[in-house]
């Protein structure tokens, strides 16, 4: 287990380092120059030269890269070019908002999926399955930005019961009940497709489990079907669902860009969009690297949770 973990960590690290070089080079290849963005159209050449020197963009590529790595190691990311403020705190603030939103959506989606799919399997009724399947397909088929806008129009503008956007004025932790209301609409818009996808997967996984011989064994022992679903099939379906959950987490982070745009949610999605558009190298390269790291960590965490949930892997180290 430990050996396996080390092996995975090593390859994750390699991917991250390669990605950092790739990202660093890539962002500098993008047409458009941060200096002109910063200086504006009316600046004099002297101004532009001063800015270039100030940003260190007059140094050679590898020197810039080494500098950046040094900054990363010291966790001092320096100031952003365009967005204002220290990159570290910009990202920290944005990340808090995005993570809270994404986790909220993730919890909403996974708890929702757990409830709907077990309901569908336990009360195996034709009408219920058709209804859930239809809702499911609809949730996947309507684009996220459309759902988000409809939610704003209905619940914030037409019937103003929930905030139209923005983050709770007092932060997430001072008034959790207020924060919850701010999170509800964007969280729901973000969670719906993931909810549907997870429900579909989990329902199928549960159905597959119910066809396994151990379920027949349990039924032959007189254990009620509902109890078998809840205590046995679900427990067996979870490891594979965790992997899907990991993938969904990535999808949610991607979808957050759209939802953040609609709900004026100051998160990472907005940051990266603005960062790229302003050619704000320090912001963009850290965010892109972060997205690689998150992806790698999610995969790793998925593997670990999978291993932990499955005693065959947990106790023996091999599948």
């Amino acid at each position: 287990m430990i050996r396996y973990l080390l092996h995975r960590l090593g390859s994750a690290l390699l991917v991250t380092v390669l990605a950092s070089i790739g990202i660093f080079a890539l962002i500098r290849l993008v047409p458009g120059d941060p200096v002109s963005v910063l200086a504006g159209p009316d600046a004099t050449p002297a101004s532009r030269a001063a800015i270039r020197a100030e940003l260190g963009l007059d140094r050679p590529f590898w020197s810039q890269y080494a500098h950046w790595l040094g900054d990363l190691a010291r966790l001092d990311l320096g100031p952003s070019y365009k967005l204002g403020g220290d990159v570290g705190s910009l990202i920290a603030d944005g990340a808090l908002n995005t993570v809270v939103l994404t986790l909220f959506a993730l919890v909403l989606a996974s708890v929702g999926a757990l409830v709907t799919s077990t309901a569908a399997v336990v009360w195996d009724r034709r009408w219920l399955n058709s209804l859930l399947s239809a809702l499911n397909t609809a949730a996947v088929a309507v684009p996220t930005f459309a759902t988000a806008l409809v939610l704003v129009l209905v619940f914030a503008v037409r019937f103003p019961v929930l905030p139209a956007g923005g983050t709770p004025p007092g932060g997430f932790f001072t008034h959790p009940d207020i924060a919850f209301q701010y999170l509800l609409l964007p969280g729901l818009a973000l969670a719906l497709p993931a909810w549907a996808a997870l429900t579909r997967f989990l329902t199928e996984a549960l159905r597959t489990q119910l066809q396994q011989p151990y379920v027949t064994t349990a039924r032959a022992l007189g254990i009620p079907r509902r109890r078998i679903v809840l205590t046995q099939a679900l427990r067996n379906a979870l490891p594979s669902s965790v992997t899907v959950l990991g993938i969904q987490f990535g999808t949610l982070l991607g979808g957050a860009i759209l939802v953040e745009a609609v709900f004026a949610w100051p998160g990472l999605g907005r940051l990266i969009e603005q960062g790229i558009s302003a050619r704000d190298y320090p912001v963009v390269q850290v965010l892109l690297l972060l997205s690689v790291v998150v992806f790698v960590l999610t995969q790793l965490a998925g593997d670990l949770i999978h291993a932990w949930l499955d005693p065959r892997v947990r106790l023996n180290g091999v599948s």
């Binding site: 050996r3 396996y4 092996h7 396994q212 011989p213 151990y214 027949t216 064994t217 349990a218 039924r219 032959a220 022992l221 007189g222 254990i223 009620p224 079907r225 109890r227 205590t231 046995q232 427990r235 067996n236 490891p239 949930l309 499955d310 005693p311 065959r312 106790l315 023996n316 180290g317 091999v318």
Partner: protein, 567 residues
């Protein structure tokens, strides 16, 4: 209890019919009655409806199945009972044991949890009482260190132990009837013998009536009081075991019994014919079918010299030996049987000969040449003399191709002849495996298991191999089908003269087809020799134990064997 009502019927199945959407009903008309405390065997080949009958008793038919007739337990009609009422019966009055212990237990729950869950279903809610009862049950099914085993997960147990746990689950609520669906089929013979004895003892101790569903006549002869023979959803014949084996009335029963392969009695006189099938050295391929590369008569078709095989990556430190220091020669035209229990390395050795697993140490010589040391082109040439028949008839043919294309594939790979010639060869090969040439256009799914194995054989023979590796080619087949396929195999082998590594766990099958036999255990070679000699007078203790454990399809010898086993 055993003697109070010896003839009282506990379970009566009358005119049971089960049908699916398919045209032919799974069960057409089955009537069986089970008496208290007896062991009743339901015997039949696949598709006879024996499993469906048992499942119908507990209302565990697959979705879409419709059952008619009557199943009465203690006078109560079970057919059509709602789920909640069935749950009252299930496990408490009638319990069931399934064929595959590997999957019959929940892999992510401990043994103790599963036992407690079974007890809880019938009212034992107290955790402590349940734990105590669980230990008691594990002890009853003769699992060592029961307290410790409660915390184990299924994958930490051996196959035999798992089946004991499944039995413990079934016995948890002291049912009066136990339905055992092929409870020993997936187990090694030695384990099978132990489980059968355990069943017998449970019956004696608790008076539970047992319905034993099996295709193995040896098992029936070993343990059953009465036998019901099923064929295609109908009862063919019914009777006391001894009587039925001695005087089968129906032709189907007769064929069934005749198909059963028998081993010679241990320590009997070796028949000369079995000793010397034909002198291996003189066995040159027939002149009409020249092999791709005629080897010198004394060069073995394959030779293992001190081979070792490891599984798992050595770099990651997870390697474990599958085969350790095995040396073995297969002479041209000779059939060598590889026998052993699971984990003995017999399959690995076969795959090594076929070049499907990497060699860790030692040398493998094909027709005297080291395959791995040979240059690329030469290796390809040597490969032409090789063929492989797989155990699983389901997966051994590509489902996307007509079987003719599958047979042709080796010819296509080596670009033998013109396309027309290849098609002609396919027809020839189909003829050789006794299938009509029109079958070439069929898809694998349109064939039965036996037919598919014939096709696999035809494909293996397409390039006229000098060595055929056959990995359990008949173990998934019914006895009557198996007998015919083996007959065909033997016939083809004699005609074409290829050498063969014949891998099987079934000693009787090996006895039937092999010239020589090699007994493997834990990756090591235990004993080799002419098949007659080894099976009649084994030198190694292990071989003897293996032979001892094989159930003999003769109830007349039961008493003797029980005595032997007890000693």
């Amino acid at each position: 209890m055993l003697d109070l009502h010896p003839t009282e019927t506990v379970l009566a199945i009358e005119h049971l019919a089960i049908s699916f959407a398919q045209p032919r009903p799974a069960v057409e008309d089955v009537s069986v009655s089970l008496r208290r405390g007896e062991i009743l065997a339901l015997v039949g080949e696949s598709g006879s409806g024996k499993s469906m009958t048992a499942r119908a008793v507990l209302g565990l038919l697959p979705p879409g199945a419709r059952a008619a007739g009557s199943i009465r337990y203690d006078g109560e009609e079970l057919l059509g009972l709602p789920e909640t009422d069935l749950n009252r019966i299930r496990g408490r009055r009638i319990a069931m044991v399934f064929q595959e212990p590997q999957t019959a237990l929940n892999p992510v729950r401990t043994i103790g949890w599963q036992l407690r869950e079974a007890l809880r279903a019938h009212g034992l809610k107290s955790r402590r009482a349940a734990a105590e009862r669980a230990v008691e049950l594990l002890r009853a099914v003769e699992i060592p260190e029961p307290e410790r085993r409660l915390g184990s997960y299924p994958h930490q147990l051996s196959g035999g132990q798992k089946q004991r746990v499944v039995l413990a689950l079934a016995l948890a609520n002291e049912p009066e009837v136990l339905l055992a669906d092929e409870p020993t089929t997936a187990l090694d013979v030695t384990v099978q013998a132990e489980i059968l004895r355990l069943l017998d003892r449970i019956r004696e101790r608790t008076g539970t009536a047992i319905v034993l569903i099996t295709h193995n006549m040896g098992v029936v002869a070993e343990i059953a009081d009465r036998v019901v023979v099923l064929q295609a959803g109908n009862v063919v014949e019914e009777g006391e075991t001894r009587t039925l084996f001695a005087n089968p009335r129906e032709p189907y029963t007769k064929t069934l019994l005749a198909s059963v392969l028998r081993l010679p009695e241990l320590d009997s006189v070796v028949e000369p014919s079995a000793l010397l099938p034909s002198a291996p050295a003189s066995d040159v391929p027939g002149p009409d079918v020249p092999g791709p590369d005629v080897p010198a008569p004394d060069v073995p078709a394959v030779e293992f010299r001190g081979v070792h095989v490891h599984y798992g990556s050595r770099r990651r430190g997870r390697a474990f030996p599958a085969v350790t220091d095995v040396s073995l020669r297969v002479a041209p035209g000779e059939v060598v049987g590889l026998v052993g229990e699971s984990g003995s390395g017999k399959t690995t050795l076969g795959r090594l000969a076929a070049g499907l697993v990497p060699l860790a140490e030692g040398r493998v010589l094909l027709q005297g040449e080291d395959v791995l040391a040979a240059p690329r082109a030469e290796r390809r040439h040597l490969r032409r003399g090789l063929a492989f028949v797989h155990q699983d008839p389901e997966a051994s043919l590509d489902p996307r191709y007509a079987v003719g294309a599958s047979i042709r594939e080796p010819l296509d790979i080596h670009r033998v002849g013109t396309p027309a010639e290849r098609d002609a060869r396919v027809a020839e090969l189909l003829d050789a495996v006794q299938l009509p040439a029109s079958y070439a256009a069929r898809r694998p799914r349109e064939l039965s298991g036996g037919q598919r194995q014939r096709i696999a054989l035809a494909r293996a023979l397409a390039l006229e191999p000098t060595l055929l590796v056959a990995d359990e080619p008949t173990s998934a087949l019914d006895v009557s089908v198996q007998a015919r396929v083996l007959e065909l195999f033997r016939d083809l082998q004699e005609r074409l003269g290829f050498a063969c590594l014949f891998i099987s766990h079934d000693l009787a099958v090996v006895h039937q087809v092999a010239d020589r036999v090699a007994v493997l255990r834990g990756g090591e070679l235990v004993e080799t020799g002419p098949v007659g000699t080894v099976f009649a007078r084994p030198e190694a203790d292990y071989t003897r134990r293996l032979l001892d454990a094989v159930p003999v399809p003769d109830p007349a010898r039961r008493g003797r064997r029980v005595r032997e086993l007890a000693s």
